[in-house]
Amino acid sequence: MKAKLVVIILIINCTAALSLWGFFRASISLGEWRRDIKTRNNLAAQAARGDKAAGIHLDKGILGDRKKFESALESLKEKYRKITAADSLVYLKIPEAEFLKSFISYFFLLNNAGGDEVVLDDEIVNKFRNQGILLYSMDKRYPFMKKSIYLEPRHKTRNKPEVRVGTNVIIIFFESLSKFFLRDDVYGIKGLTPNIKDMQQHSYSFSNMYNAAFPTVKGLIAALGSSSYLLDENIGGTRIRIPCRFLFLSSILKSLDYTTTHIQAGSERFIGMKTFFTEREGYDNFYGSESLALKNIGHLAEGFGVDDTALFNYVVDWLEDYSSNKPFLLTVSTINMHPPFKITDRNPDAGDNDLLNSLYSTDKAFGRFWSYFKKSKLRNNTLVIVTADHAMGNNKDYIAFANKYRSYFKPFFDLIPCFVYFPGGAWAGKSNDTACLNLDIVPTLLDMMNLDLPNPFIGLPIFSGRQYYERGSGSIFDVKIDLDEKRLEGERKVLGFYFHLYRTDRIIPPDYKVRFN
């Protein structure tokens, strides 16, 4: 009897499920049909207007008309992107499976991933070499260590801006500032970044720089240590410290009697940043939101840390109070453009778009520093670099905003600004369009200072070598899961190689001392 009843329930359930499936199928078909009708009507309307450009029917008339051709090309690109992009399917993955996969890989697999030492074979080493990364050239145990910042000394050039050793250095990392956000000529909202643009006008620009890493901690390691760090996911919260040491710009400049300070709007505790900077990378001072909040309790709002207004006020105060005769390295990291976005000022043209208003707020906060700097004596003996920690991530506000500008929508890895103000405003308005990564910032700065030393850098001086090693955009360590077996094996090997280096602290030798060539 019970078995019969179970069969009945099963049949009824199946019938109900089939009905529901039919309902979904019918709704989808109806939607597709309506879309087809709409598309057909649009095409008919365009044909009636004699405007075929929005379609994909390229004829000789369109080829002769630059505007129509560009429009048709854009339409083609859009269709192609929709066909090839896999990101839409992210919403159809099963959440429980994603949760379990990430949980297991985060808490178990990554912890054990760096178990055995991996020695890369010649094929992979040559592949790295072709990308401008020299391995096993000095010390087999520290594969990244090499004798010089130049792979080929003959590539060293004198045709570059030069910076005197002893010049103060300020590097400002804007949170998630993809270069697209400065392209008001594309998105049409003027006046969102007047201060950053003013700084750009007074500066030398590296106009073709991409970020090599995401998120912030990896971005800072890439920019300040010219290195990659792939174990970021494994240093969750404040629990696990970054297990290895990189050669940061701070350690190099400290050997030249600089004082080194980092100020950020985010927390000092998050992923053990303060400990990492002060104990591992030789920073003298580190101020995060905990330090800044003491002065700015009112600025502790929703989201990470204090806002950028409090940050740049703190930076200006710090600069005003700096009384040492030693030159300084000051690195600054903003926060406003980190979701959920901090907004302290609103631009009427940005409407209620939180992302754009946070950009405007960041710029306004930066303006406090920039106007102070331009009037202070520092402008004649300080180099200022403005860049981003990484490109904007794939959050809903960015999607909503950049949706209209598909060819510029590049979440996570994209062009980032890199403006360098030289003391006295030298080189203002000049630019360099060599394809480069933020990994190249430190080697380039050392090149401009005419300093050379044994190092584990992955980056190269932009003026003296980068142009020979094109890497293109995006992370060079972007490991794809869906590879064929042979490539997957190669990727696994490289990943294992990296993980083992980090876990066993083998980026630079423990007794490494900065000694210039």
């Binding site: 009897m1 019970k2 019969k4 009843l5 179970v6 069969v7 009945i8 329930i9 099963l10 009824i12 359930n13 109900a16 499920a17 089939l18 529901l20 499936w21 979904f24 989808i28 939607g31 879309r35 929709k82 839409s88 399917l89 992210v90 919403y91 159809l92 993955k93 959440p95 429980e96 994603e98 949760f99 990430s102 949980f103 890989s105 985060y106 808490f107 990554l110 998120p215 970021d232 996911e233 494994n234 240093i235 969750g236 919260g237 629990r239 927390s267 992923i271 989201g303 990470f304 979701p339 959920p340 991530g393 794939n394 959050n395 809903k396 960015y398 999607i399 909503a400 949706n403 979440p411």
Partner: protein
């Protein structure tokens, strides 16, 4: 004769059949609704853009709902002791709550972070500032939806339990 047996049995267990179907449909709505709302509110794509994959997912969830619902009914019919039935319903609700919690966080991760729960999520998960997402308007709506589904499933399970407990009906 053979079919009339089934017909009689079905007629005398109409309420049970209706509850079983309700359970199937609510489960299906719960599973499919997550992806549908995720696409509508989070994605730059519409459901039509991914219709083939969406329908494949719908089929998978409908099958899953049929299996889960039928299994629950079967187990409730087999279990005789009241305490065992309670334990079974408790276990089902715990599993369902687990799924709800995961789906709340994953929906939020997609909405606020543009990606599923991943290493980056775990890196922020135990950090106080990340907790701001738990009190956003979107989070409150998710809690309410999860509460509704929880209530509905619990209500149906209780009814199924009392209906299958009726010796006379079997």
């Amino acid at each position: 004769m053979f079919l009339s047996d089934y017909k009689t049995l079905m007629m005398s267990n109409r309420k049970l059949a209706v509850r079983a179907v309700s359970l199937t449909l609510i489960l299906a709505l719960y599973f499919i609704g997550w992806h549908y709302t995720s696409l509508v509110f989070n994605g730059s794509y519409s459901v039509i853009d991914v219709s083939a994959q969406f329908m494949a997912r719908v089929f998978w969830y409908l099958s899953l709902s049929v299996i889960i619902s039928s299994l629950i009914c079967a187990v409730l019919m087999i279990l005789k002791k009241r305490i065992m039935r309670k334990i079974f319903i408790g276990a089902v609700m715990i599993l369902f709550s687990g799924s709800e919690i995961i789906r709340i966080f994953d929906w939020g991760a997609l909405y606020f972070g543009g990606n599923h729960i991943d290493g980056n999520f775990w890196a922020h998960a135990f950090y106080a500032d990340g907790l701001v997402y738990l009190v956003t308007k979107q989070a409150l709506v998710l809690y309410a939806a999860a509460g509704l589904f929880f209530g509905a499933i619990y209500f149906i399970l209780k009814q199924l339990s009392s209906l299958t407990n009726h010796e006379g009906r079997l």
